[in-house]
Symmetry: C2
Subunit: 147 residues, 2 copies
């Protein structure tokens, strides 16, 4: 058993529309098979797949409104970058869920929902105690600290 | 705007219990702040945070039962590895949602739910047309194919 997290699949109402949305906020539509689209990221790759088809693949009923217990996050270089990216996502069709604001953990962040309700936190974290962005733009958790 | 996906936060009912579960299936509890735990993966890092606290952080009501529209996936080296890992996760307290089976896309996969209902697909994909695992154990989407 190891630490693999290889793919995140988001259930979406319209695969083509969802792919167009993610392209419009800066992602690349790497493989588009019609029923499923794969997009690279700085971390785990994303897949976009029909909500009903994905539910059927798991064998579960296609329920689930309200908070779904998952947030995806992007970590930017400044509070100004957060505000700008938040506005860009909303201009591209995302829903403004919570406007960026100063957080008690020292950062600046807000939440948008993509057109299918998947939540993204757009954040700036000035601390390097727990994590930093490496030279490839990937978030790295720092080594454990003895406290 | 770029392709950052830096952190995936899962809402959980009991942060300590969830962290113990992920340790028991092979992940590392890198930073444990009590209210939130950070775990490295081969891709995007995972965070475990209280379901109600995460809902409150987004500003949304803490609803959401049934299928939540998100699956996480790990891609293993063989069908036998899939069966073994599936059994290991269930032995560690995960729910067997769909037993591993041959899939129409040519692979072998099944679904487990972690103790908070987050779905993981445990899969083997023999094709290298769309993706392959690199020397660091990370899934890489292959370059686009002209069709």
């Amino acid at each position: 058993m190891d630490q693999r997290l290889d793919l995140i699949t988001l259930g979406v109402r319209d695969v083509a529309a969802a792919a167009a949305f993610y392209e419009s906020v800066g992602f690349e539509r790497r493989h588009d098979l019609g029923t499923i689209v794969f997009l690279p990221t700085t971390g785990t790759a994303l897949a976009l797949y029909g909500w009903e088809a994905l539910a059927a693949d798991t064998g579960l009923p296609a329920l689930g409104e309200g908070f779904r217990g998952v947030t995806l996050a992007m970590n930017l270089d400044s509070a100004a970058d957060v505000d700008r990216t938040f506005a860009d996502w909303v201009a591209a069709g995302a829903t403004a869920v919570r406007a960026p604001e100063a957080k008690e953990w020292g950062g600046h962040s807000g939440y948008v929902a993509d057109p299918d309700g998947h939540l993204w936190e757009i954040a700036h974290n000035p601390s390097r105690a727990l994590m930093r962005i490496d030279e490839h733009g990937r978030l790295r958790l720092t080594p454990p600290v003895t406290r």
